[in-house]
């Protein structure tokens, strides 16, 4: 088990750098360079040349990449070409906001989806099943920017229940922080809630048909015991897989959600950096995302073993 863990962790480093190489090439393939974007309308040719030189963008690409990798291995991801802020600082100061939003979105998605999916499966064909299925179709089909704008329009502008955007850190005020968290978390979590509900429902239906459920019932176990103790635990295996993948999806959804709600997280930073061709920041974010995605996958694999004792990595 320990050996497995070490091997998986060690594999992450080359994968991360492979990802960074691909991203580096892709970003530099796009025709616009940051100096033009930074100077914008003050784009006189002399100013652009001077800025390119200052940012070392006039060096050959392989040299730029090798410099970056060398520094990265020493823990230095460089500085933003737009703001001159150290990349590590730029990401770490925004990470708490994104983590909070991501966890909240995932949490409400799991807390709602698993009971809803289970009930829908148990009461198949009933109005509550129809409602749950309807919700899953709508949740998957409606893009989250639309949900976000709709929530702002109705709950913020008309009913004044929640602020339309912005962020207060937990350290400043916990109630205000939570108040501002509600709408973005709902926006970001809707798609995953819909998917998880569907997965729980179908997986549950499948498990309920299994022999061991009938055996457990025949042995006189209570309905509650059978559902919670036998069925649900087994039904959750595919759901856990999906949730693992969804961590990536949540990070991707954060790009849009953070922009709509002016949420100062990594997603918004990523959007601004891509539009501004802020290479060092883009690289830093991709590296961070690659690691978090791989860690999430690892956590999913470990969770399998816990949910189903027949799976082991010895």
């Amino acid at each position: 088990m320990l050996q497995y863990l070490v091997r998986r962790l060690a594999l992450m480093v080359p994968v991360a750098f492979l990802v960074s190489l691909v991203v580096f090439s892709l970003v530099h393939l796009t025709p616009v360079d940051p100096a033009t974007l930074i100077l914008g309308e003050e784009h006189s040719p002399q100013a652009i040349a001077a800025l390119r030189h200052e940012l070392r963008l006039d060096r050959p690409l392989p040299e730029q990449y090798i410099t970056w990798v060398t520094n990265a291995l020493h823990g230095d991801l460089g500085r933003s070409v737009r703001t001159n802020q150290p990349v590590v600082q730029a990401i770490t100061e925004r990470l708490p906001a994104t983590l909070e939003l991501g966890i909240a979105a995932l949490a409400w998605s799991i807390l709602l989806a698993i009971p809803l999916g289970t009930i829908a499966a148990l009461k198949r064909g009933s109005p509550i099943d129809v409602l749950a299925t309807g919700f899953t179709v709508a949740g998957v089909s409606v893009p989250n920017f639309f949900i976000g704008i709709l929530l702002i329009l109705v709950l913020s502008v008309n009913f004044r229940l929640f602020p339309p955007g912005g962020y207060t850190s937990l350290a400043d005020s916990i109630p205000d922080n939570l108040h501002r968290l509600v709408l973005p978390a709902i926006t970001l979590g809707t798609v995953t809630t819909a998917i998880n509900t569907r997965f729980t429902r179908s997986s549950m239906l499948e498990v309920l048909r299994q022999d061991y459920i009938r055996t457990a019932r025949a042995k006189g176990a209570s309905w509650r015991q059978v559902i919670v103790g036998h069925a649900l635990k087994n039904a959750l295996i595919p759901v856990v897989t999906v949730v693992g993948i969804q961590i990536g999806q949540i990070l991707e959804g954060a790009l849009v959600t953070e922009t709509i709600f002016s949420w100062p997280g990594v997603g918004k930073l990523a959007i601004d950096s891509i539009f501004g061709r802020d290479y060092p920041i883009i690289q830093g974010i991709v590296l961070t995302l690659a690691f978090s995605f791989m860690l999430a996958n690892l956590a999913v694999d470990l969770a399998y073993a816990w949910l189903n004792p027949r799976i082991s990595y010895a």
């Binding site: 025709p31 974007l37 914008g40 002399q46 001159n84 329009l153």
Partner: protein, 504 residues
């Protein structure tokens, strides 16, 4: 699916029932309070020497001060300098305000002026360098007198000094800030508000400068700037009172009508200092033929563009000098109305490509232009690209036409010289006319404003006639505030200054 559709209609109906706000009245200024302002994008730097974004000036003007400033009619008035005079055409002497201290407690004096101007001139990639190109050296005569020695006369220099090129920052604070100065400029200004903190993508806070040299100002305790890039979100924040002020450009033109009709909000505007329309490449390709450029200028129905693309919020443009400038001549009306027959007589049956930034408004504008020109037998292809790409190709002169506008400068020189002088820094269209060059050079060295006005008038008449650029609109400078915000001064440079503003 039907059920879902019904649900959405229901929600839209609910949202249509907008609730009203409150209005407040009061005349006596009230001290205290926090003002929250939405800016249309995040800033890049708080160091004026590095700045290249218009939005950065929103914060600078409340924190830093320049030697000279402007009033609502764009006339130069004293700032950190109480008076100035040209002792000869290349020697400009300033008398400095006494007793002014930077926020870090160090004194503002002649040495600080010399330091700041030299810093702007020696920072290689600084956009300020070209703005101060006429400055040879700065001499500190005594504690209250500095002299600018110029390479050649420069009538536009004072106007350049109003903006970032003339902002005075504490040398001690800059030294202390080091590489991170642009992110954390503690104690660097002399202005009504001082820097507190900047949490990027979240907020930037300024607080009242208790030792401000104008006694009794500012009224506000604090300003919090919030970057809100999504115009719908900015409008929602304004409506719910989450912000008090939205900067020019933060609210989309399509929503201005609803802002105007909301009694809890205040909307005013005036023509801004810039110009919009599109660049045409006079140097090569199809538009090297002047008649074809003129045909395009003649065939355009500008009022239709203003109405349909800009929702009537922008002002019709007749040239690079906006109506708010002292150099504006209202009698100039070349290509005033669309005239298809006249355009066809000039040139017809040719094709060109318009480089169009990939924003919905630009694409809409290009589509309408294409349609209008089509009536005059001119075929326009629309090539949509990212804005940075449009800029790069325009600068390399690889284009026929490009939708690139100019945010404008308060002095007419800043709107004309770089754009239309042969080889100018922003002359993407390679326009070159010796007569225009000579008029612009004369205007640069003429000391007298009425002479300059007449010279710019002549230059404008020629370059607009030549269709060196196809002028369509002047963007507005806007006041968009809650009705709780008082004493707001609307200035054409669209920068919101809060020293005199109070909240009640």
């Amino acid at each position: 699916m039907k059920r879902l559709a019904v649900g959405i209609v229901g929600v839209l109906f609910l949202s249509a029932c907008a609730s009203g706000g409150t209005t407040s009245t009061g005349t006596a200024p009230k001290s205290g309070g926090t003002l929250k302002m939405a800016i249309e994008s995040e800033l890049r730097t708080l160091d004026p020497v590095k700045s290249s974004q218009r939005v950065e000036r929103q914060v600078y003007y409340n924190m830093y001060e320049s030697l000279v400033t402007i009033d609502a009619s764009l006339k130069i008035k004293p700032g950190l300098a109480t008076s100035w005079q040209y002792t000869d055409p290349t020697t400009l002497q300033f008398t400095l305000r006494q007793g002014v201290k930077f926020h870090d407690g160090t004194p503002f004096n002649g040495d600080a002026v010399k330091f700041n101007i030299e810093r702007a001139l020696t920072t290689p990639s600084s956009p300020r360098k070209s703005e101060l190109a006429s400055v040879q050296s700065v001499e500190v005569k005594d504690a209250s007198t500095v002299v600018f020695h110029l390479k050649k006369p420069d009538a536009a220099l004072l106007a350049q000094l109003v903006d970032r090129a003339g902002m005075m920052l504490s040398p001690a604070a800059i030294a202390k800030g080091g590489a991170d100065f642009g992110l954390n400029p503690l104690g660097a200004g002399t202005g009504p508000f001082q820097f507190v903190e900047w949490k990027r993508d979240d907020h930037l806070t300024l607080k009242k400068n208790p030792n401000y040299w104008v006694s009794g100002r500012p009224y506000l305790d604090q300003i919090i700037y919030r970057p809100i890039t999504d115009s719908n979100a900015a409008l929602a924040a304004l409506r719910t009172g989450d912000i008090d002020v939205a900067s020019t450009n933060a609210i989309a033109d399509k929503d201005i009508a609803s802002v105007k009709s909301d009694s809890s909000l205040v909307y005013k505007d005036t023509a801004g200092v810039g110009f919009g329309g599109f660049e045409v490449n006079s140097g090569s390709g199809v538009f090297a033929d002047k008649a074809k450029r003129q045909a395009v200028a003649q065939a355009l129905d500008r009022p239709q563009i203003l109405q349909n693309v800009f929702f009537g919020v922008h002002v019709l443009s007749h040239g690079p000098i906006p109506p708010t400038s002292w150099a504006y001549d209202p009698s100039e009306r070349l290509y005033g109305a669309a005239d298809v027959a006249k355009a066809k007589a000039m040139a017809t049956g040719f094709t060109f490509t318009m480089k169009t930034p990939n924003t919905p408004v630009s694409i809409q504008e290009a589509t309408l232009i294409k349609d209008q020109l089509g009536k005059a037998g001119i075929t326009m292809n629309i090539q949509v690209e990212e804005f940075g790409q449009v800029l790069t190709e325009a600068q390399a002169h690889h284009f026929d036409a490009a939708l690139v506008a100019w945010s404008g400068r308060i002095d007419p020189d800043g709107n004309i010289y770089g754009w239309f002088h042969t080889g100018g820094g922003f002359n993407d269209g390679q326009y070159s006319n010796p007569q225009v060059d000579s008029l612009l050079e004369q205007a640069r060295v003429a000391a007298d404003q009425s002479t300059r006005k007449s010279l710019y008038g002549q230059a404008q008449k020629i370059l607009v006639g030549d269709a060196a650029y196809i002028f369509i609109q002047h963007d507005p400078a806007q006041e968009i505030t809650s009705s709780k915000v008082h004493n707001f001064s609307l200035i054409a440079d669209s920068i919101d200054r809060f020293a005199e503003v109070w909240k009640g």
